[in-house]
């Protein structure tokens, strides 16, 4: 079993990770010169003003309602008031019972997004969501002031997307097999922007956005496109159904199952055959996308916090809240052969890595790394796995940290330590994502608490071009690469059954 004790110690303070080359992580002190850095300006002030305004509005609504009630109490007969009071009390009881079953329904929508987002410490994060375009080198960044910027190295304009309904953005996602469509998970709805890549406009009008909303489906915390680009699935912790959208027709099909109390996080396997849907309860589901049936996976300890799929869709790695291990599930990769077979899979998940707290002695003193996992991402070639560890924001010696593993899927599934990715002193990693088609290995994009976004390349030669199923996100044809020689640290091996 791979554990953090086998990792090389973290870098001393002031050093930052630059890239991986020749099988080791290189670091340096001069940050700005070597790595492309994009500094984002956050409009914190305007955001604060808006929040205060919203508070005032809420207060006035409460006042109005209470005045109304008072008036009514004076005018209506006593028995009616009594019975109404009884009904209200009953309703409150039911609500509190529901709340005790599913504690998350009592949270405010912002707290809910914070709780279930893949971003660490979402409310004060300058970059609230980030998405690479699946085919080109452009990306979208959602900022604290609820605007979205699109950066494209090939064009000088950076369009800024703003919309009346675009509040508390929890996730953004580009549509596969399309150049322009960007889906945004907002507080009350899903916006699908159509940003013409050839347009020179820096402020696309709100007419470019389709609004997809469904009663009871708010806040939306996770959205995911099918790899074939035809469907969009959205999830909300308040809605027990997840919605499958036909975006062009603006119609949706709710997929509802009993149990769980909502859907928090979605992940579509790259070959398009399965969707992971985690719930606020200690339960997650794996949907099969041919006939949309699901299998339930109850967890012992907590809810499924994050998960990611191997490129061929046969293996699912996930982490559970309250535990510091990574689990793996293996699925048979050919669900299409028999048309009516349900999801076929294993009976239990296996533990593949232990990330419990480990103390490292560095020049600056002891650092404790490990604990709960915030987010798991796997690079599209299936060679590097990045894990965002939560750490403890109160304790200085327990920082949030990114641990990177080398993974190998064939002939047997292996996890090998690669190292920690660190940023500038004082900067905390908040959000990680891999570039979908980086030619020379893998490119990890990290958004830091300071508002910087850095790209950390991992240069390696792929052990073999992964063969996609038909539904797999199409990759650019890559040059043939010869197998890499891994370091002979056989740290974790799992025999395939």
């Amino acid at each position: 079993m791979c554990s953090l004790a086998l990792f090389p110690p973290p870098l001393p303070s002031g050093n930052t990770t630059l890239c991986e080359s020749n099988n080791e992580l290189l670091s340096g002190r001069k940050y700005e010169e070597t790595v492309q850095v994009i500094i984002l300006t956050a409009f914190v002030m305007s955001d604060l003003n808006e929040r205060i305004f919203v508070r005032i509005q809420k207060c006035s609504v409460v006042l109005k309602v209470s005045c109304f009630w008072l008036l009514n109490l004076v005018l209506i007969p006593k028995w009616l008031a009594m019975s109404a009071g009884c009904v209200l009390a009953l309703l409150k009881r039911i609500a509190s019972f529901h709340g005790s079953l599913f504690p998350h329904v009592t949270l405010s929508s912002e707290d809910m997004i914070t709780e279930f987002s893949q971003v660490l410490n979402w409310p004060d994060c300058v970059v609230r969501a980030f998405a690479w375009h699946p085919h080109t080198d452009k990306f979208a960044v959602a900022l604290l002031d609820d605007s979205i910027k699109i950066y494209n190295p090939k064009s000088a304009t950076t369009p800024t997307l703003k919309h009346r309904l675009q509040r508390s953005v929890a996730a953004v996602s580009w549509k596969p097999l399309c150049a322009s469509a960007l889906a945004v998970a907002c507080h009350s709805s899903i916006l699908v922007w159509h940003v013409d890549p050839c347009s020179l406009s820096t402020r696309p009008s709100s007419g470019c956005a389709q609004v997809l909303s469904h009663p009871g489906h708010s806040p939306v915390t996770s959205i995911v496109w099918s790899p074939s680009g035809s469907l969009l699935v959205s999830a909300s912790p308040m809605d027990t159904a997840m919605l499958v959208w036909d975006v062009a027709a603006e119609s949706c099909v709710p997929l509802q199952r009993v149990g769980g109390g909502g859907v928090t996080f979605l992940s579509w396997s790259p070959d398009g055959s399965h969707v992971l849907a985690s719930t606020p309860a200690a339960l997650f589901r794996v949907w099969e996308t041919r006939m949309w049936t699901c299998e339930r996976w109850p967890c012992l300890k907590g809810r499924c916090q994050s998960g990611c799929w191997s490129p061929d869709g046969s293996r699912l790695l996930f982490s559970v809240q309250g535990e510091s291990v990574i689990y793996a599930l293996t699925f048979s990769s050919s669900p299409g052969l028999s048309s009516n077979s349900p999801v076929t899979g294993p009976q239990a998940a296996t533990v593949v890595a232990d990330l419990s707290e480990t103390t490292f002695n560095t020049q600056d003193g002891c650092i404790v790394v490990g604990g709960e996992i915030q987010c798991l991402v796997w690079d599209p070639k299936g060679e590097r796995l990045a894990v965002l560890l939560k750490g403890d924001p109160q304790a200085a010696d327990r920082p949030a940290m990114i641990a990177v593993f080398k993974t190998r899927t064939s002939p047997i599934f292996e996890l090998l330590p690669c190292g920690f990715v660190q940023g500038e002193p004082g900067a905390e990693p908040r959000l990680i994502q891999f570039h979908p088609n980086f030619q020379h290995g893998a490119l990890l994009t990290v958004c830091w608490s300071s508002g910087k976004i850095t790209h950390v390349p991992f240069y390696f030669l792929s052990a073999g071009v992964p063969h996609f199923g038909l539904n797999g996100s199409p990759s650019l044809p890559r040059p043939q690469e010869r197998p890499a020689d891994f370091a002979n640290q056989s740290l974790f091996t799992e025999m395939l059954s």
Binding site: P197, G229, A249
Partner: protein, 667 residues
């Protein structure tokens, strides 16, 4: 005819059985629904025990069983009507007058009549079940002696409300295209789909019942005395003067009466909607056609043959759906598509499938180009001839018909005739081509345009190579220059207008000027009549919807083709797909161009307003957007798979440039 036999086979062996299964399930669902209705209709909060026991005893009584049998009959009749009237291509009326034509069509009249009667039967059953004051039509009045029978207006009210609900259900069915059966993008098992739709059905039937109750109250308030008087006369009943009459404000404000009427209407609509929902779910279920069969007896049932069938549209749609799904999900069936025939080594399967898909695409392209030309030519000619403000062309055609000196008497008949022709063709077996915009019937369109679009209307297969839209666009222009030189040799294909406005304007004789003035006068006169304007004004975006009414077929064709081409990159051993790659690109790019041009027209890109809670399937209103998105995705799917290899595919420079945009992700 062979194809007729085939269609009979499919309708007989598949569709009928599916319809029968759906009706059977609807009948099975009737007892629990009736039980729920009984519980709600006898609702009393203060005597719960009595309420429950009453309900139980009622449910086990003879009368309940008899009414249940009656209700079963109603459901079966409704199920048959669903089967008879369903269509996979919606009928879209382009103007109010066309809609009126649909509503007054004899076929539709029959439908409304049957619904009316069925509504009355259901309401009678409801009246029996609710009991109390609703139970009988007549009762013996005390004041006038035991032999006198008086009319029970409550019973009559309930019966009439049932008939009204049935009638309005059938009318709304036409207006909202309730008989349109849409195919879902997400495949689900039937039970899960039914379970997921039940809350919607309950909500819809409750709200629709509310609306229908409101309308019925208005109607009854004004016209309620007529059926009452008639019944009293024919059945020799008397009106009890001591009881408050119901067609007054005071009589209608009876809360218990309103509640009972509403709950019976909800019950009625719920059973009918459930029947409809089950029918839709069963009919649109995926059917697996074999790609190839070794026995020649059943060779006509395999996919490449079935997909080219014209007539039962449901067969063609199911075949295309199967194609789209097999190309996406099953490698084994794809391998059969790519395989070669055993003696001879020809890729017959692939050829048949790709030919049909490409034909569908080119057909749509042709329709779009023709429509675009009609719209564009109309605008141009009109501005030349009159220079007046844009008027609706159909209105103008009527105007010209009113003119006694007009040389185009046929035009007057043409517009309403086309309306009825459309509504007639809007049945379940309507041809592929959607009703065309009435613009074509306008006197301003040139004969060459007519000739250009005539094959489309007559639905003749068009197997030629796909041409660029520019060529189509040029055709009317060429014609108009040739009229000026008086060498127009194009034979009139139909009783087409002899004179065109352009000719009129080109030789300003006295007669022409007179005609022009008269026409202007009549036009102005008619334009002031609000009703005429209202009836003949074209509904916005209706022509666009009509053009794309059957686009679900095109969407599947695009998906099927693109997935097959994508799979061929790794799975096609013999290279059968490569030979058709240029024509696939060609038709897709030409279609893309035509679609882009169409979306630049006014109203084409405006989104339809979301309707609230109805059972109608609005997906036909957004099919054009779905088609545009699918087309783009299909092109990207092929370009991302093949990448730079596409440079080896032969195509014109214009298309290559376009394709380069796709390769650079700039579309």
């Amino acid at each position: 005819m062979f194809s007729v036999q085939q269609s009979c086979w499919f309708i007989r062996k598949v569709i009928c059985w599916r319809a029968a299964a759906s009706i059977a399930w609807a009948v099975l669902l009737l007892p629990p629904t009736t039980a729920v209705f009984v519980i709600f209709s006898r609702f009393s909060i203060f005597h719960p025990v009595q309420w429950i026991s009453e309900c139980l005893s009622l449910l086990l009584s003879i009368g309940a069983i008899f009414s249940l049998i009656l209700l079963c009959g109603v459901v079966i009749v409704i199920g048959f009507l669903n089967l008879e009237y369903y269509t996979v291509i919606p009928t879209i009326a382009c103007s109010k007058i066309a809609l009126l034509g649909q509503l007054l069509h004899p076929r539709q009249f029959f439908n409304s009549l049957v619904h009316c009667i069925m509504g009355m039967i259901v309401a009678w059953c409801c009246a029996i079940t609710i009991g109390g004051r609703y139970e009988t039509l007549g009762y013996s009045c005390q004041q006038r002696g035991p032999t006198h029978m008086c009319l029970n207006e409550y019973h009559l009210f309930l019966l009439l409300s049932g008939a009204f609900t049935g009638f309005s259900h059938s009318l709304l069915g036409v207006i909202h295209n309730m008989n349109y059966v849409a195919f879902h993008t997400v495949q689900q098992y039937k039970y899960l789909r039914f379970k997921g739709s039940i809350p919607l059905v309950v909500k819809c039937s409750a709200t629709q019942a509310l609306y229908s109750l409101r309308n019925f109250l208005i109607v009854y308030y004004f016209l309620g005395h007529m059926p009452k008087a008639w019944l009293c006369k024919t059945l020799n009943l008397e009106v009890d003067s001591s009881v408050h009459s119901l067609d007054t404000v005071g009589g209608l404000l009876d809360l218990s009466l309103l509640y009972h009427t509403w709950i019976s209407a909800s019950f009625l609509l719920f059973t009918w909607y459930t029947t409809l929902l089950l029918f839709r779910i069963f009919v649109t279920e995926l059917y697996n056609f074999p790609v190839q069969i070794s026995f020649t007896d059943d060779a006509q049932q395999c996919l490449p043959k079935v997909i080219a069938e014209k007539q039962p549209m449901i067969l063609k749609f199911l075949a295309l759906q199967d194609l789209a799904l097999l190309s996406q999900h099953s490698p084994m069936r794809r391998a059969e598509v790519f395989s070669l025939s055993q003696p001879g080594g020809h890729p017959h399967n692939w050829n048949a499938i790709s030919k049909e898909c490409l034909w569908l695409l080119s057909d749509l392209t042709q329709r779009l180009v023709a429509h675009h030309d009609t719209v564009a030519t109309n605008g141009r000619t009109k501005s030349l001839s009159t220079g007046s403000e844009r008027k609706s062309s159909s209105e103008a055609s009527v105007t010209s018909g009113d003119d006694p000196f007009s040389p185009r008497p046929a035009v007057l008949l043409k517009t309403p005739a086309s309306v009825f022709a459309r509504s007639m063709s809007g049945g379940p077996h309507s041809p592929l081509t959607a009703p065309f915009t009435p613009d074509l019937d306008s006197p301003f369109s040139s004969p060459s345009l007519r000739r250009l679009t005539a094959p489309v209307e007559q639905y003749s297969p068009w197997h030629g190579t796909v041409q660029s839209p520019h060529i189509f666009r040029r055709a009317p222009k060429l014609w108009s220059t040739s009229t000026d030189s008086k060498t127009n040799g194009s034979p009139p294909p139909s009783p087409a207008p002899v004179l065109s406005p352009k000719q009129e304007s080109s030789k300003p004789g006295i007669l022409a000027r007179f005609l022009k003035n008269r026409r202007e006068q009549v036009k102005n006169f008619m334009a002031k009549r609000v009703l005429v304007m209202y009836l003949f004004n074209k509904l916005p975006e209706a022509s666009s919807q009509a053009l794309f009414a059957d686009s679900q077929a095109h969407i599947w064709a695009l998906e099927g083709l693109s997935y097959l081409v994508q799979a061929s990159y790794t799975e096609d051993q013999f290279g059968v797909v490569q030979t058709t790659l240029p024509s696939i690109f060609n038709s897709m790019l030409v279609l893309q161009e035509a679609v882009d041009r169409h979306f630049k027209l006014p109203h084409a890109s405006s989104k339809p307003s979301r309707s609230g809670c109805t059972m109608e399937d609005c997906s036909y209103k957004t099919l054009r957007f779905a088609l545009r998105a699918t087309l783009k995705t299909a092109l990207y799917r092929i370009t991302t798979t093949f990448g730079e290899h596409l440079n080896a595919v032969q195509m014109s420079a214009e298309h290559r440039k376009k394709l380069q945009h796709f390769l650079d992700y700039k579309e």
